[in-house]
C-alpha cells in the first residue's frame, strides 16, 4: 500500500526556505529539511509566524470548510480514508458524512428544496437525478470542466463512460454530476461448483434461471436464490425482459404501465423465485444482508449489483474459490440489466463552489480513483482509461472469469436508453409502489394480477398528486 505523503510538512519547509531567501537549496537538502519538518514541523511552524503565513499562501483553501455528504457505499467509505490528504494538501477542512441510502435521500431532498447552504458537495442520487437537476438544485459543471484554469487537460473530463454521464445532464446537455460509480446488475453465484455439479451453466436466460434454481436449491443446505428487497431496482430488469416497462414512454409519457400482462407475468415469475428458492424471510433482506449471505456461502445465485457481487471474490469471502459471474440473463424480449450511476455535484446554495469543485476534481481524478482500485479493490469505476488498463482487468479476473468485460458490456447495454424510466422526477413514488406490489405477491397476500393492478392505481394517484397530467 502506498504511504500517504505528508504534504503539509513538505510545503511548510519549502515555504520557509523561500521566505529566508535561500534560492539555491539543493534537492537533497530540501528532502533533508522536509524529513526534519515531518518530525518536528508543528513546533517549527508555531514558533515562526512567517512560516505559518507562507503555508497559508501555499494552501489555497486554508480557512475553508467543505461539507460533503454521500450515501453509504464502498466508494465513499474508501474515500474517507484519503480525505486527510486533501485537507493537508489544500488547507481545507472537510466535514464528511455517509448516512444510509434512504436517510441520505430524505435529508438531502429537503435540504436541496430550500436551496440551503449547509452542503458544498453532494451525491446526485440516480433516482432523484431528474428531480434534483430538473428543479435547478445543482450547479452545471461545464464551466468548471472547460476552464483550463480550473481544470487541467490531464484531468481528462471526457474520460468518463458515456453511459454514466448521460443521466447527469439536462435537456440542453449541461453536465451536473461527475459519476463515481456505474452500478450495473449482473449475475453472480457464490457456489458455482454446485451449479456445475448439477450439470448446468450460469443461467443465460430466464428459462435457464428456473431450471438452475430447481437443480441447486437447498443443495448443501443453501437456498438457490437471493436478492435484496429494493424491488423498484432489482425487479425492473425482469419486467423489461418480459417486454414490459414502468412507464408507457419515459420521459415524455409517464403513464404507469404496471398492470400490463408483461408486468403481471414478470411479477409472478420473480415472486416465485423469491418464495420457492429464497432463504427464510427473503423479502426482509437488505443489500448488506445479501452481500453477507453470499460471502458466507449462505445463499447461491443472485442477480445483483456488480459492486456487491465482486465482494464474493475478496480475500475475506468464504466462497472466493467457488464464485462465478455472468451477464444478467436475457428474457423473452431481450436483456436489460439495470445500469445506474451516482455522481458528485455542487448544490446551488453552496457558498464554496470553487472549493467544492476542487474536492470533486481531487476525488474523481484518475490518480485518486486508480489508487482506490489498487489499494482498496474498488472496481465500479467510471473512467474508461482505468477500466481498459491491464492491471484493472487482471484485478477483475475472478476464477478465470473476465468480470471487467461483463461490466463494460453491461454499461454499454445501458447506454441504449432503457434506463430512462428511472431518472424521471416521479420515479421515487412508483419505486415504492413496486416494492409494495412485489412484497404483496411474495407474501401471498395477493395474486400477481391483483398486486400489479393495485400498484398501477396507486401509482396513478401518486403521480396525479405531483401535478403530472396523465
Amino acid at each position: 500500500m502506498e504511504k500517504p505523503v505528508d504534504r503539509k510538512a513538505e510545503a511548510s519547509v519549502e515555504d520557509a526556505v523561500q521566505q529566508c531567501g535561500d534560492d539555491v537549496v539543493s534537492p537533497a537538502r530540501r528532502r533533508f529539511l522536509a524529513s526534519g519538518a515531518a518530525a518536528g514541523g508543528t513546533t517549527l511552524v508555531s514558533g515562526f509566524p512567517f512560516i505559518a503565513r507562507a503555508r497559508a499562501a501555499d494552501k489555497p483553501l486554508s480557512g475553508t470548510t467543505l461539507n460533503v455528504s454521500c450515501w453509504s457505499a464502498p466508494y465513499p467509505k474508501y474515500l474517507a480514508d484519503y480525505i486527510p490528504e486533501f485537507e493537508q494538501a489544500t488547507g481545507a477542512k472537510v466535514n464528511y458524512e455517509t448516512p444510509s441510502f434512504p436517510i441520505y435521500n430524505q435529508r438531502i431532498d429537503v435540504e436541496l428544496s430550500t436551496k440551503g447552504t449547509a452542503y458544498d458537495v453532494l451525491n446526485i442520487t440516480f433516482i432523484y437525478a431528474g428531480r434534483w437537476i430538473g428543479a435547478g438544485w445543482f450547479e452545471p459543471l461545464d464551466g468548471y470542466m472547460n476552464d483550463p484554469k480550473k481544470t487541467p487537460a490531464d484531468w481528462i473530463p471526457n474520460d468518463f463512460l458515456g453511459g454514466t454521464t448521460a443521466s447527469m445532464k439536462d435537456k440542453n446537455g449541461r453536465l451536473y454530476g461527475i459519476p463515481w460509480i456505474a452500478d450495473v446488475i449482473m449475475s453472480g453465484a457464490a457456489r458455482a461448483d454446485l451449479i456445475h455439479k448439477a450439470g448446468k451453466r450460469m443461467p443465460e436466460t430466464f428459462d435457464e434461471v428456473g431450471t438452475v434454481m430447481k437443480a441447486v436449491h437447498n443443495q448443501d443446505g443453501i437456498p438457490g436464490f437471493i436478492i435484496d428487497n429494493h424491488y423498484g431496482w432489482t425487479w425492473i430488469p425482469w419486467l423489461q425482459g418480459f417486454g414490459g416497462n414502468v412507464f408507457r414512454d419515459p420521459p415524455g409519457d409517464l403513464m404507469p404501465t404496471l398492470d400490463t400482462p408483461e408486468a403481471i407475468a414478470a411479477a409472478d415469475f420473480f415472486a416465485n423465485l423469491l418464495t420457492s428458492y429464497g432463504p427464510n424471510g427473503v423479502i426482509s433482506y437488505t443489500y448488506d444482508q445479501v452481500v453477507a449471505a453470499l460471502k458466507q456461502g449462505r445463499a447461491n445465485w443472485s442477480p445483483n449489483n456488480e459492486t456487491f457481487l465482486v465482494q464474493m471474490g475478496a480475500a475475506d469471502s468464504k466462497v472466493a474459490s467457488t464464485c462465478d459471474f455472468a451477464l444478467f440473463p436475457a428474457g423473452p424480449k431481450g436483456r436489460f440489466p439495470a445500469v445506474s450511476t451516482h455522481a458528485w455535484g455542487i448544490p446551488v446554495g453552496s457558498k464554496n463552489k470553487d472549493a467544492a469543485w476542487e474536492f470533486i476534481k481531487w476525488a474523481m481524478s484518475k490518480e485518486m480513483v486508480g489508487r482506490m482500485v489498487r489499494e482498496k479493490g474498488y472496481t465500479s469505476i467510471t473512467r474508461r482509461s482505468l477500466i481498459e488498463q491491464a492491471d484493472f482487468k487482471q484485478k477483475l479476473m475472478i476464477n478465470g472469469r473476465d468480470v471487467a468485460k461483463i461490466y463494460l458490456d453491461t454499461v454499454e447495454l445501458g447506454a441504449s436508453g432503457y434506463m430512462k424510466y428511472r431518472t424521471v422526477p416521479v420515479y421515487p413514488q412508483v419505486d415504492k409502489e413496486i416494492d409494495i406490489a412485489i412484497q404483496n405477491v411474495a407474501s401471498k397476500q395477493m395474486s400477481a394480477k391483483e398486486a400489479m393492478q393495485k400498484a398501477q392505481a396507486n401509482a396513478v394517484t401518486q403521480l396525479r398528486r405531483s401535478g403530472i397530467k396523465l
Binding site: 428544496s113 427464510n280 424471510g281 404483496n440 411474495a442 397476500q445 395477493m446 398528486r465 405531483s466
Partner: protein, 302 residues
C-alpha cells in the same frame, strides 16, 4: 372606600405582575409549539410539493388533501393497521405490566433488583430496541429461530409473513413499554392499605377474591390512565416499524404516521403529509381530552 380601592389596585398590580412574569415563558411556548402546529395546519391546506415551492401558497383547494385522504386506500388501511396495533399493544402492556407488578409487589432486595432490570427496555433508545428485535426476527442470525430449529420446530420469518408481521411488532412494542405500566401499577399497589386486605382474608376471601374485589378497584384508575397514555403514545410508533418492516410486507404494518412520513419524506408531498399529520394531531388531541376527563373523574371519586 379608599381602602377597598387600594386593595383592588394591589390585586390588579399583582395579576399584571404575574402576567408579565409569565409572558416570556408563554411567548417561547407559543413559538415552539403553536407556531409549528399552525404552520402544519396551513401547509395541509396547500398541495405543497418540494419540487414546486410555489405550491406552498396555493390555497385554491384548501380541503383537497383531506378529501384525497378519505378516498386513499393506503391511508384508510394505515388507520386500520394503526387501530389494530394500538389496541393490541395497550391491552398486552396493561396485562403484562399488571401481572409483573403483582409479582414484584413485595419488599426484598432481590425483587428490587429485578424491578430495576425490568425497566431497562423502557429506558433504551427506541432505535436500539428496534435493532435488538431486528436481530431476533431475522432467521439466519436469530437466536430464537436457531433455538427452535435445533429442537425441530423451524419457524418461518415472522416479519415477512403478513399474518404475523403486525404481531411481531406488537410483541416488541409490548416488551419495550410494559415497564411503564408495571412501574405505575407497582406504585399504586404499594399505596393499598393493609386493613381491607386483612379484613377480607379473615372473612375467608381467597387470593383471587382479594385481587378481584380489593386490589383491582384500587389500581383501576392507575390502569385507566396508563392505558390512555400508552394509547396516545402508540400512535407515535415509528422506529420499530421503520427498522423491522418498513411498513411491509406490502402495507401490512404501514401505520398512519409511517404513511405520512412516506408521503412527506419519500415523495416530497408536504401538503398531503401535513394533512395526514393534522388528522393525527386531531386524533391525539381528542384522546388527550379523554385522558383529562377520566383523570378528573378519578380525582373526584378520590
Amino acid at each position: 372606600m379608599a381602602a377597598s380601592t387600594g386593595s383592588a389596585g394591589r390585586a390588579w398590580n399583582r395579576s399584571h405582575a404575574f402576567a408579565l412574569g409569565l409572558a416570556p415563558a408563554l411567548v417561547v411556548l407559543a413559538a415552539i409549539t403553536l407556531g409549528p402546529a399552525i404552520y402544519l395546519v396551513v401547509t395541509s391546506l396547500t398541495p405543497l410539493n418540494l419540487v414546486d415551492p410555489k405550491s406552498a401558497l396555493d390555497f385554491s383547494h384548501p380541503l383537497g388533501n383531506y378529501r384525497d385522504a378519505l378516498t386513499d386506500s393506503r391511508f384508510l388501511n394505515s388507520v386500520w393497521v394503526q387501530a389494530k396495533l394500538s389496541v393490541a399493544t395497550v391491552v398486552l402492556q396493561l396485562a403484562a405490566g399488571l401481572a409483573v407488578a403483582l409479582l414484584l409487589n413485595a419488599h426484598s432486595r432481590v425483587l428490587e433488583a429485578i424491578r430495576t432490570a425490568f425497566l431497562i427496555p423502557m429506558v433504551l433508545p427506541p432505535i436500539v430496541v428496534a435493532v435488538i428485535w431486528k436481530v431476533i426476527y431475522t432467521p439466519d442470525v436469530s437466536p430464537l429461530h436457531r433455538a427452535l430449529a435445533a429442537i425441530g420446530l423451524p419457524l418461518g420469518s415472522l416479519i415477512t409473513n403478513a399474518g404475523t408481521a403486525i404481531w411481531a411488532i406488537v410483541v416488541a412494542e409490548t416488551w419495550e413499554w410494559f415497564p411503564f405500566t408495571m412501574l405505575m401499577t407497582l406504585a399504586a399497589l404499594q399505596m393499598i392499605p393493609n386493613d381491607p386486605l386483612e379484613a377480607a382474608a379473615i372473612d375467608g376471601a381467597n387470593r383471587w377474591q382479594l385481587f378481584r374485589y380489593i386490589v383491582l378497584p384500587y389500581v383501576r384508575p392507575t390502569l385507566v390512565v396508563c392505558g390512555l397514555f400508552r394509547l396516545i403514545d402508540s400512535i407515535k410508533a415509528f422506529p420499530l416499524i421503520y427498522v423491522l418492516t418498513n411498513g411491509g410486507p406490502g402495507t401490512a404494518t404501514e401505520v398512519t404516521n409511517y404513511y405520512g412520513f412516506v408521503q412527506a419524506f419519500n415523495f416530497s408531498y408536504w401538503g398531503y403529509g401535513s394533512a395526514i399529520a393534522t388528522m393525527m394531531v386531531a386524533g391525539v388531541f381528542l384522546l388527550s381530552l379523554l385522558v383529562g376527563r377520566l383523570d378528573r373523574g378519578v380525582g373526584n371519586r378520590d
